[in-house]
Structures are given as C-alpha cells and as structure tokens.
C-alpha cells in the first residue's frame, strides 16, 4: 500500500506544472484559438509526449496508465489550458488504437475534441481536426470523425476560452463499438475531467488566498477576517477530500478494478462539488473584482463550471453510485 505519486509520476507533474507556468499564463487562456502562443503551448505538450501518454509503445506511445493521466491533467486543469488536452490525451487513445488510427492521433498535436453525448456543442473544436463522438455513460458506438470538411458553427458560451462549436458534417474515419474500449475511453474522460477540476480548484484557491492577503479594508487584509477564513477553509476541505478520490479512481481504472466505474463516479462527483464550491467561494471572497472579466479568476471559474457539468454532473454520478449501492430509485437515471 502506498497512496502517493511515484517519483516518476511526481516528476511528470512537476514538468507539466512548469510547462503550464511558462506557456499557459492567463493571457494565453484569453487568446484566440489561432494565436501563436496557443501553438507554442500545443507544441510544448507534444514535446512532452502527451498525445502518446496512454498509447501503447507498439503504436508509438509511452504505454503509461491512468496513474500518470491524473497528475498531467491536474496541472493542465490548474492552468485552464485552452486546448482539448483531456480529450486528446485521455479519451482518444484507446479509441484510435482500436480503430487502427493511432498514427493520426500522434500526428496532430492536441487535435482531438470529444462529444460524448453525440449532440454537441463541443469545446476546443476550432483548432483540431479530429472528433470522437458518442459513448455516453461508457456504452454504445463511438465515431472517430475527421473535421477537415466539417462545418463549425460557433456557439456563444459562458466560458469564452472554450471556443464552443456545433459541428456539422465531417468524415467518419472509423467506428469503435468494442464495449471494453468504449467503457475505458468514457472512464478516462470522467476521470480526466475530475483531475482537471482538482487543478482548477487549487488555482482558484491560490488566487483567492493571494488576493485576500493583500487587499486591505478597514485597515487590515480582508483575509484576516474570520468570515473569509472560514469560507476558504471550507472550500479547501472539499478539495482536499476530493483529490484522493480522483487518485484512487486513476489507480482503479489502471488496475482494472471491478469497482472502477463506481470509483470514477465518486471522483467526478466529489471533484465537481468541490470545484463548484471553490468557484463560488473564490468569487465571493474577492468581492467586486471577482465579478469582472478583467481579473483572471473568471477564466478558471468558467472552465470549472463547464467541466463540472460535463462528463456527468455530480448529481448524475451520485445516481450511478446509488445504483452501485443497490439503493432502489423510483425514477430513472437522468440522461445527462
């Protein structure tokens, strides 16, 4: 038993963190999808080997598992990286490999967006040339779609950095209906979203602690007021108890644990609840400046709201867990 990152996983986390600090400051999160800075961020992740993290060595990847995916996505989440990292690094590999398309994935950078519901809209589809569609809940066929001839219709979004689009057309390059692969891709999506939510939560707390420690009212830093302290302590508490659930879910998926579906749902539900509480608390503790778009906090809060709702909301995953616990429900499982 050892519940901690290995030295190698810790190294990966630090390298990605350093990369994000260098290449993904808030100004980059704010830039348009065609900005050179986003190209540089994309290249940085490719040089790190991110697209091949979960691809087998046979397919030219690193052959690593979800215990590595969690620290990587926690850090890209921390930076609110405006690229489909979760989708390309987490969701796509098993599907592309099963469809014999691993080369396409390795060739394109952070190129693959995901639409698990099959009904869009899709985040970060502006830049990338690939899309995986379907597989909600870990079952049903998933289409791998080439977007070179697709129509992209921008959708006004809460999170302006997400470049939300509705996709029309495109070319189906392959369809994966192996239930094992579809389930794995889904669980990695849920797990990855949870990891990113942990990173986003930590970033929002960092910003808030820094601000509350320097903003003075009534002659003292606002962070010295007990009301503010208690809000932030409660928010941290939820993050600190969600993060181990995310780490355990990574281990369960990697080990093929029979309870992995339940563990992944636990991770996503706790991480979503934590991130939503942190976002609300962070905005409140900033006061009016937190309610502006000039200040950076909103970038992270809006990404957190999107991810909390995506890949199954907290309520959706609690309903899954209730099923695992054998608690009869009078209703049916909500679709999304």
């Amino acid at each position: 038993m050892r519940f901690a990152l290995t030295a190698e996983q810790q190294d990966l986390r630090e390298v990605v963190h350093e990369l994000m600090e260098r290449l993904c400051p808030p100004a980059v999160v704010r830039s348009t999808p065609d900005a050179p800075a986003i190209d540089a961020l994309d290249r940085g992740l490719v040089e790190l080997g991110a697209p091949g993290l979960l691809l087998s060595e046979r397919s030219g990847g690193l052959g690593l598992d979800e215990n590595y995916l969690v620290p990587l996505l926690t850090e890209t989440g921390w930076a609110a990286a405006p690229l489909p990292v979760l989708e390309t690094v987490g969701v796509a590999p098993a599907l592309f490999e099963a469809a014999g398309l691993a080369d396409r994935l390795l060739a394109g950078g952070m190129a693959c967006a995901a639409d698990p519901t099959g009904t869009g809209p899709v985040r970060f589809a502006e830049r990338g040339g690939l899309l995986v569609r379907g597989g909600w809940g870990g079952s049903g066929p998933v289409e791998i779609v080439g977007l070179s001839d697709a129509r992209r219709e921008p959708v006004p979004a809460v999170d302006p950095a997400a470049n939300l689009c509705r996709i029309g057309g495109g070319t189906v390059l392959g369809t994966v209906d192996d239930p094992v692969v579809v389930e794995r891709a889904w669980q990695r999506g849920v797990l990855g979203a949870a990891a990113q939510l942990i990173g986003l939560s930590r970033r929002m707390l960092e910003l808030t602690v820094e601000y509350a420690g320097s903003r003075t009212q009534f002659g003292v830093p606002v962070g010295s007021f007990q009301a503010v302290k208690h809000h932030l302590a409660s928010a941290l508490l939820q993050v600190e108890f969600a993060a181990p659930a995310v780490a355990r879910a990574g281990f369960s998926v990697a080990a093929g644990d029979p309870d992995r579906a339940r563990d992944v749902s636990l991770a996503k539900a706790l991480a979503s609840e934590a991130a939503q509480l942190v976002a609300r608390t962070a905005i409140q503790c900033h006061g009016a400046i937190g309610y502006t778009t000039e200040y950076d906090l909103h970038l992270y809060a809006k990404r957190a709201w999107a991810l909390a709702a995506d890949w199954g909301s907290a309520a959706w995953h609690r309903a899954r867990i209730a099923e695992h616990l054998g608690l009869a429900r009078t209703g049916t499982l909500p679709l999304h």
Binding site: K229, P244, A245, L266, A315, R318, A319, L327
Partner: protein
C-alpha cells in the same frame, strides 16, 4: 500509487476478523458513558487485551503486537466492521500514549503503558476549564512547587472531562509559572484521581449519560515523576496530543465506513421512506465516508514516509465531525417518527453533535486551516 495489501497484511486482517467474529458481544453493550455500561466495556477491554488486540500498534513489551500503521488501520476497519464496542480506553491509548512514547521517561513508559493497555489504569483528559475551552491557553489551574516534598501541589478545576467520573487517572495542563502568559509556563501532569485533594463530580451530557465530569484540585500533591516532558513546556507536549486527537488516531476511517454501510442498509430496509432525494442524501454521506478513508490512506503514507501532517490534522477533524452529523441526520430522516425514540441512531445523532465541539471547536479548526494550511494572515 499502489493500493494493494501485502500478503502479511491480508493475513493480519484475516486473523483480526476471525478473532473478532468469535468474540464481539452478540448484543450491543449499554453505553460506555454510563456507570453500568462502562463496567461492561471494561470487561470487553480486558478481553481484547488478553488476546493481544487492545493496542496493536504498540511494542510487544507494552502489550501490543508491533503492528505497522497500515495494520492498525486494517484492525480498525475490522473492529468496526464486526460491530465491536466503542473503546472506553481511547483517551489513554489514542491520546496520551502517543505523547508518552514521544515525551515520557523510560520509567514513565514502563510504569504507565502496560497498565493502560490492560485497562487497569483508565485515563481521562483534563484540559478544559470553566474559563478555558477553545482558548486552551487561558487555563488557570496551577501547580505550585513543593521542594520539601519533592513535587507539586495542584489547585483549580477542570471540566467537561469525558468519562471522568469512571476513570482512575487524568492527564492535564497546569500553570507552573504564574508570571508567564498564555501558552508559556504550563506543565503537563499525570495525576491519579485518588490523590488526596482531588474531587470528581460526574454530570449529564446532552444525551442524558453521565459522560462528563468536573474535577476539582485542592492542594493535591503529586511527585516530580508526575510531570510529562519538561516543566513549563506543557504546551508543546500537549500539542502532540491535539494532533492525535484531531487527526487520524482518534477517528479511524473504519468507524465511518461501517456507519455509512449501516446507513445504506437502513435505506435499503426502508424503501417506503427512501425517496429519491433521501437516497441522494444517503449516497452523498457514503461518498464522504469513502473520501475520508482515501484521505487517511494518503496521510498514513505520509506518516510512514516521515512527513508529519502538522496543521493538516485539522482537516481530518473538520471532515469526520461534519460527516458524522450528516450521517446521523440522514438516518433519522429515514426513520421518520421512529427517530424520536431512544435508539442507536438517535443516540449517535446526539453524540455526533459533540464532534464539532470537542478536540477544539470546528471554528478554531477552520482558523487553523486558513492560517496554517492556506496561509491567510492571522491579523
């Protein structure tokens, strides 16, 4: 990450499970916070000790079995899984003992630990006073030097002392330097409650049990050997105990995992009451019990690898105490009108309300987390 148990850990679990299955009383014992229940619990404690399960993580020479922290966690899981009685010795074995291991002299350890393990000496905690609860540094009970007799004379009053009316010994803080302020000039004393000049009066808690006591000291003499750690260094010694109290050792995850499973069983047994919102509430509580366990696995890894939890033990305390209340609230919702009867769930609910108060109120814990974990300014 490696979340698998070794063969020897699995064997340890199997041995514990087997013994507990054969020995845990079939009927729950009466509350250990009543005089009669306490006596019944003592019989159980002595049975545990005789079989070597009372203090598994202690060295063999003191009555333990040299179990690792992981094995202790496993034992706790099995203990609660088996529905075994609450540990009325907990303030000694979980709070004082770690402090004795760290600060005690060889003689203190050799004298006190075996008797504690065997439930011969029963320890209560003498910290709170009428004027010093959360503000522990405000204590006024004092110890005056008696050079002639080679010891100290204790005067003052402790209160809200859990099971004080049934225990034999008290560990507590007394002011030894009247000129020193606040947390300076305090000394940690180990006091037999039959010392002349000590008077104990039990009183009822919210749940109606005589689980509390106030302890009066009227020029009670204790020898120098009753001092734990250095004179006037009591605060540092006491803080080692608060880490245990707030953190892992007092409230192991096994307790909440088992309680959450029982809550799920209760919901399954009452489908007529388990509406969708209530199922969601039960599920959320079960999830939090899981989260507490996973947090502690990470924490034990840290401890085993030499990283001290420090102020992070306040996170444990906040989480388990608030989880415990939500757990019992959900159970009472499921029970409906039956929830008003005196039953294990309603008793558990009343007890859970003490959680955010004892071991430092949750308001104090949130201050600690904000200042020492997050780094917000004190002033």
């Amino acid at each position: 990450m490696d979340l698998t148990w070794s063969e020897s850990e699995e064997a340890f679990r199997a041995e514990a499970r087997e013994w507990l299955a054969a020995h845990v009383p079939a009927e729950p014992l009466p509350s250990g916070d009543t005089r009669e229940g306490f006596a019944r619990h003592l019989e159980w404690e002595r049975e545990l000790y005789a079989a070597g399960w009372a203090v598994v993580s202690w060295p063999k020479e003191y009555g333990g079995r040299d179990a690792s922290l992981w094995e202790w966690l496993i034992f706790e899981e099995e203990y609660y899984r088996a529905g075994a009685p609450q540990r009325v010795t907990q303030n000694g074995i979980f709070l004082l003992a770690p402090t004795l291991f760290e600060f005690g002299t060889t003689e203190q350890r050799d004298t006190l630990l075996p008797r504690m393990a065997a439930a011969q000496d029963l320890w209560c905690q003498g910290w709170s006073e009428p004027g010093a609860g959360s503000d522990l540094a405000g204590i006024r009970s004092r110890a005056e030097r008696d050079d002639e007799a080679g010891g100290w004379r204790l005067t003052g009053q402790k209160t809200w002392t859990t099971r004080g009316a049934f225990c034999t010994h008290l560990f507590g803080l007394f002011r030894t330097d009247p000129a020193a302020q606040r947390h300076r000039g305090l000394t940690y004393f180990l006091v037999p409650l039959d010392t002349p000049g000590v008077t104990v009066r039990g009183f009822e808690r919210l749940d109606g049990d005589e689980g509390f006591a106030e302890v009066f000291f009227d020029d009670a003499f204790v020898p120098d050997s009753a001092v734990l750690g250095a004179v006037n260094q009591g605060w540092q010694v006491a803080m080692a105990t608060t880490g245990s109290e707030r953190g892992l050792t007092l409230r192991s995850p096994g307790r909440f995992l088992r309680a959450a499973d029982r809550l799920v069983e209760l919901a399954a047994a009452h489908p007529e009451a388990a509406t969708d919102p209530l199922v969601d509430q039960v599920t959320a509580v079960w999830m939090q019990a899981q989260a507490y366990q996973l947090f502690t696995l990470a924490q034990v890894t840290d401890l085993v690898e030499g990283r001290s939890p420090g102020a992070r033990s306040s996170l444990n305390k906040l989480y388990w105490s608030e989880l415990d209340i939500r757990l019992h609230e959900a159970a009472l919702e499921l029970l409906g009108p039956q929830g008003q009867t005196d039953n294990p769930w309603s008793r558990g609910f009343l007890f859970s309300l003490a959680g955010p108060i004892y071991a430092g109120t949750n308001e104090i814990q949130r201050n600690i987390v904000a200042e020492r974990v997050l780094g917000l300014p004190r002033k």
